[in-house]
């Protein structure tokens, strides 16, 4: 979220400038009145978001935190059970499996997807005819990738005797679909994620366009070849965008649900190999109605994502390069 941090910094700066520009010279006695009117208008305009935040985000988060320490099934009043849900979680083999499945998906899927996005963005960044059309075409899967339709197609392509199976057999590889093979479901899900490389690619492309051509020219004059220029010019200049993509894709990957649900027919199988974290949370909360347990799972997820976000921000100081006005 480099972009937002910068934005926030700039907003604060600009707010300060405007504060002096509009309020101090223009008015003498009317100033407090204008300020009070601004406060009123500010809250009035902000009220939809503020109401939504209190009623649908902050309130529910607190409630979920409370429920995490209770036994609750929607029909009987919540029973306070202390940290029992959390100790039960870490003794639950299906929970541990779902955490493992999700970790592999995030650790492998996100880097592969971003590498594909960056490679294609570099390819498209060269000035050639049809660049805009290709950019749109490659973005399309990001728009539909999470839909049920695509999950159905994916399942049909990777099922026994499906297209993947045919290709395998054509090359003399062992026969069998990926959908029913616990060792192959993860590659299948990662392929589905990588197929949607378009959104980060579009963001990379926009970032590449902002790198001044003079930098590349200067490096070339100094004798830097294409690889050296990529490592020493492109990557550092692109690092804020890379950071933004890494953060968004990581958080997104933790939340994958519908495609795994459809492809496994609502079970998370075979052998729990598609039992993603949020999928297990759904099964616990909404099919077994163990809402305290599911709330504990939700808070473990919030903590893990929070820690990862914090670590990313902290380490970003070392590798994200900001130019110009911000730092």
């Amino acid at each position: 979220m480099s972009a937002t941090t910068t934005e926030r910094g700039r907003a604060a700066g600009r707010g300060g400038v405007r504060g002096t520009a509009t309020s101090s010279p223009a008015r003498g006695g009317g100033k407090p009145q204008r300020d009070r009117a601004d406060v009123k208008a500010g809250y009035a305009f902000l009220s939809p978001w503020l109401l939504g935040f209190v009623l649908l985000t902050a309130g529910p988060m607190l409630m979920s935190l409370y429920l995490a320490f209770t036994d609750y099934n929607l029909f009987r009043a919540p029973q306070f059970v202390g940290i029992d849900n959390f100790t039960a979680l870490f003794a639950d083999p299906r929970f541990l499996k779902s955490a493992q499945v999700t970790a592999v998906y995030v650790l492998v899927g996100v880097p592969v997807k971003l590498a594909a996005a960056l490679a294609v963005a570099l390819l498209l960044n060269a000035k050639h005819r049809g660049q805009g059309a290709y950019r749109s075409m490659f973005y399309a899967p990001s728009l539909i990738g999470a839909s049920v339709s695509v999950a159905i197609v994916w399942r049909a392509m990777f099922i026994d005797d499906g297209i993947a199976d045919q290709v395998q057999q054509f090359f003399g590889l062992p026969a069998g679909g990926w959908v029913g093979d616990p060792n192959m479901t993860m590659p299948m899900m990662i392929l589905l994620a990588v197929w949607q490389f378009g959104a980060p690619m579009v963001i990379f492309l926009a970032g590449l366009k902002q790198i001044p051509a003079e930098l590349h020219e200067a490096a070339a004059v100094d004798g830097a070849g294409p690889i050296r220029r990529f490592v020493s010019v492109t990557l550092p200049m692109l690092s804020p965008v890379l950071f933004f993509n890494l953060l968004l894709e990581t958080i997104g990957a933790f939340q994958v649900f519908s495609s795994a649900f459809i492809i496994s027919g609502g079970t998370g199988g075979p052998a729990d190999s598609t039992l993603f974290y949020t999928f297990y949370l759904y099964l616990k909360g909404f099919t077994e109605f163990r809402m305290g347990y599911a709330s504990a799972m939700a808070w473990v997820l919030v903590l893990v994502v929070g820690i990862i976000t914090a670590v990313l921000f902290r380490t970003s100081r070392a590798w994200v390069h900001y130019t110009g006005d911000v730092r």
């Binding site: 935040f53 049909a156 909360g285």
Partner: protein, 300 residues
């Protein structure tokens, strides 16, 4: 170019280099197009295969690598349009439309107004609220689905569209607020001052001056809001349990479960039909969508 170098080997250095340069340029262009077309084939194959399969006889879909149907049939579409479990296909379409249009209206109303507060009114606490708003973008939304469900269930709103639409009218999707804040920040502040001198208050500035100028951001947000609602699966899965309230994605899932492996044709036909509006939006508004994504990551 080749003739220039071969017939006159002793020409000046400059012509030789320009000749090799143009040749290299042409080679590069060929390599570019070969690579890009290879990527395009991989990207497009699943989609094209889906559309073509929907016109193949049901038994001829799985394992048929060929795109072009050997025999064309409309049977799959006939069974898709026949509906499921006594509920008409058009009921699902109507439900999806109500949800999607409701989302668009809710998001446009709430996000434009909230964005105006963030971008144009200075009042104490605004910075904190803005940071909190950005923070909600990083929050896994699964932490709120259980309490929200308990809340809406206690109000007797399960099997209505309200639990799915109310959050949109309360700007809970920070992506849209952020997109509009970014856009508003790009509009000159002199407009506000001019309107103020003409006697406008905040509502006047927003309604008469800035809102008309926000059209591109409103269009981008509307398209995303529509498509995300149209494709949403988890929300309807939680709140809509009666088949006559199902939107298309849930109906599609019911269809897959009921027909199991036997009727791939009808599944494909329904999958295609469910994507038609999304693809139409994409074809018409691709510039807005792609530029919207680019701006979100970059401006600022």
């Amino acid at each position: 170019m080749t003739t220039a170098t071969t017939t006159a080997p002793r020409t000046t250095v400059s012509t030789t280099t320009s000749a090799t340069a143009t040749r290299r340029k042409r080679v590069r262009s060929v390599v570019f197009h070969v690579l890009v077309i290879a990527v395009a084939v991989v990207i497009l194959y699943p989609g094209v295969w889906m559309v073509m399969s929907s016109f193949k006889p049901s038994g001829d879909i799985v394992g048929n690598v060929n795109l072009w149907p050997e025999t064309w049939t409309l049977d799959n579409y006939a069974s898709a349009f026949a509906g499921i479990g006594g509920v008409s296909f058009w009921t699902f379409v109507l439900n999806s439309l109500i949800l999607a249009v409701g989302s668009v209206v809710g998001i446009v109303l709430s996000a434009t107004v909230s964005a105006y507060a963030f971008a144009r009114i200075s009042f104490p606490g605004r910075g904190v609220y803005f940071a909190v708003m950005i923070g909600t973008m990083l929050l896994p939304f699964h932490v709120v689905i259980i309490p929200q469900y308990i809340l809406f269930n206690s109000m007797g709103l399960v099997n209505t569209f309200l639990p799915l639409l109310a959050p949109k009218f309360l700007a809970t999707e920070a992506f849209f607020v952020f997109l509009m804040v970014q856009f508003l920040r790009g509009l000159p502040r002199e407009l506000d001052e001019a309107a103020r001198i003409d006697g406008c208050g905040h509502w006047g500035i927003f309604r008469l001056v800035l809102l008309p100028l926000m059209r591109p951001a409103v269009i981008t947000s509307s398209i995303f809001a529509f498509i995300w609602s149209w494709n949403d699966f988890l929300g309807p899965l939680l709140y809509l349990k009666r088949p006559d309230t199902y939107p298309l994605p849930i109906a599609l899932r019911l269809y897959v479960d009921q027909t199991s492996v036997s009727d791939y044709g009808a599944q494909m036909a329904m999958a295609v039909l469910a994507l038609v509006p999304v693809l139409l939006f994409f074809v018409v508004f691709q510039r807005y969508l792609v530029d919207g994504v680019a701006t979100q990551g970059l401006k600022g």
